[in-house]
């Protein structure tokens, strides 16, 4: 199953396991269970009437046959008597008897129960006159019978409110906890694997999103060199229109004269930094627009050449100037004395002719730390900001150094401020200016060049 922790698939591939999905209200237990139901055709879902009605009303994305696999726990169903499960068959509600018929036919091997708390609470207040039915719905008995059912090879997935340890979590073979937290108005979700007996847990915490009503696990992954190279697909940069970032979704828009600050946490892998930066650079170059790069630390000359190769920028090199502190034989590399602010400013400015319309300037401020003082770096940024504003171009300030003075200064002078973080191995970005929700980042190269995939975390 795609976008799903492989550990859970491996676990549910076994027979007679009990998986507990727990979490506080709003953490996505029902959507998680429904996504499982929709993807795994061998599952049946049992819940109280209220929950089932709500699903029928609100979850139109479920496939038609999925709705047929949703049962109301205490409704009457036409079932056939079965000896396969012994006395247990008679000690369970009719919805279960019907489900067990399907198990016997081999159509189903997993029963999803959503949720333990609502079932127990709802049934507690139900008028159950018959002694037999009272026994069936007694929480302790019901729980014991479910465990016996798993002993007979039926998989059980039980959603349960709360994240505390209790009898259910001790008895279950697998426990996962869904979490949700909010930082500055941005929602984050994670799935913690607490235990999965018999399965090697490769990653204990996965990020996930509930975008479009489905639970989708997102993982950042590593960069893969493209199987085949393809021409980078450019978008025209036109007067009177937003400048395409080629990376970020709305509402992050780049406009002529803007200063953009990319604030990368130190733990972001280099490939993520480059794949965020390069599509904008490649697009400017493909549009034939002069592009000057004072490369960040993640971009040494070897890496720059690799990026030129990856994005097939050979034909556009006449528009590119890399300002570098070392003498190089490449025509697109311009030496500058980085120890002298004046020389650096003059070199950058000197690369842009009067005829160069709306140029792109990228300043990797982290590289400058080895040469200039923070005050000089700020002076340089401010100078370039004014220069770019006058020329109607775009200035991108990027780097990975946690130098608060520079960051605060950059935040103050920038029109767009984007933050990049590494959360347990998953890359996340969000706009601080303008404010945006958080997006999970992964990189791919199926198009024939590297690009970023963004998943809004909802």
């Amino acid at each position: 199953m795609k976008n799903w922790p492989p550990e859970i698939d491996e676990f549910l591939g076994r027979k007679g396991v009990v998986l507990l999905i727990r979490g506080l209200p709003g953490t996505g237990k029902t959507l998680f269970s429904l996504t499982l139901l929709d993807k795994r055709k061998n599952c049946i879902y049992i819940a109280p009437k209220k929950v089932c009605d709500d699903i029928r009303r609100n979850y139109s994305w479920l496939q038609k046959d999925t709705f047929e696999r949703i049962l109301v726990i205490d409704e009457k169903y036409e079932y056939e008597h079965s000896d396969k499960f012994g006395n247990l068959f008679f000690l369970l509600p009719e919805s279960f008897k019907y489900a067990l018929n399907l198990v016997e036919k081999g159509e189903v091997d997993t029963i999803i129960l959503d949720s333990w708390h609502t079932i127990v609470e709802e049934l507690k207040y139900k008028v159950l006159e018959e002694r037999e039915r009272r026994e069936i719905y007694d929480p302790e008995r019901f729980f014991l019978n479910l465990i016996k059912l798993s002993d007979q090879g039926v998989n059980l997935i039980i959603a349960k409110e709360g994240a505390q340890e209790d009898a259910l979590s001790y008895v279950a073979d697998g426990v996962i906890t869904l979490k949700r937290w909010i930082e500055n108005g941005r929602i984050f979700r994670s799935l913690e694997i607490n235990k999965l007996r018999g399965v090697e847990i490769r990653k204990s915490e996965y990020m996930f999103t509930l975008k479009e009503g489905k639970a989708k696990v997102v993982t950042s992954g590593e960069f893969q060199h493209p199987q085949r190279r393809e021409e980078f697909k450019m978008r025209e940069i036109k007067l009177g229109f937003e400048i395409p970032s080629m990376v970020f979704p709305s509402p992050i828009g780049f406009h002529r004269g803007n200063t953009i600050l990319y604030d990368f946490e130190e733990y972001i892998p280099r490939e993520y930094h480059l794949t965020t930066l390069m599509p904008t650079i490649a697009n400017f170059l493909k549009n034939g627009i002069k592009t000057i790069v004072v490369p960040p630390n993640d971009m040494d000359l070897n890496e720059i050449k690799y990026q030129i190769y990856l994005y097939s920028l050979e034909k556009n090199l006449s528009s590119l100037k890399i300002i570098y502190p070392e003498e190089e034989m490449e025509e697109f590399v311009e030496f500058a004395d980085f120890y002298t602010l004046k020389d650096l400013m003059e070199r950058v400015e000197g690369c842009i002719e009067d005829t160069d319309n709306m140029p792109l300037v990228v300043i990797g401020y982290d590289r400058l730390f080895s040469f200039l003082s923070p005050n000089e770096i700020m002076q340089f940024i401010d100078y370039m900001r004014n220069f770019i504003r006058k020329r109607g171009g775009l200035l991108i300030i990027t780097g990975k150094v946690s130098e608060k003075t520079i960051k605060r200064f950059g935040a103050g002078v920038s029109d767009v401020y984007i933050k990049f973080k590494n959360i347990n191995g998953d890359m996340v970005m969000y706009g601080i200016k303008p404010w945006t929700r958080a997006y999970h980042l992964s990189i791919a190269s199926e198009k024939g060049y590297p690009y970023t995939i963004m998943e809004e975390i909802l």
């Binding site: 190279r229 000359l301 050449k305």
Partner: protein
């Protein structure tokens, strides 16, 4: 009869470097900056060795290797590039390059390597 090397690189500085390093040898250096120039000169001059950079003015060196190999599958091609990523090296070798050398290698190593292909 003097040997011929076709150098496919858009860097004039590197052309000068190659000429300088091999000036005492009986070797003619033919310089091409683009794919078209490289193909034309390869067909006309029939060089004993072709040195190709990966980043050219109009295309990648890998594409030039493929074209040259179509014209003469037995030609000796050595990639000489500042780019040392293993994926790119593999692509160049898969395309038909005989060897891959990093540009900022020592002069004596470069000279020795080039001469070994002309023996």
């Amino acid at each position: 009869m003097s040997k011929k090397i076709l150098l496919v690189d858009d860097s004039q500085l590197f052309y000068r470097f190659v000429k300088d390093v091999l000036k005492k040898e009986d070797i003619e250096i033919i310089w091409a900056k683009t794919m078209k120039e490289a193909i034309d000169k390869f067909k006309k001059e029939k060089p004993d060795l072709t040195l190709i950079d990966i980043i050219l003015a109009d295309t990648s060196g890998v594409d030039v290797i493929r074209k040259i190999k179509e014209i003469n599958p037995d030609s000796n091609i050595v990639v000489i590039s500042g780019l040392d990523k293993e994926y790119v090296i593999k692509e160049a070798l898969d395309a038909g390059a005989t060897d891959y050398m990093i540009k900022n290698t020592s002069i004596s190593f470069f000279r020795q390597k080039v001469l070994s292909y002309l023996e």
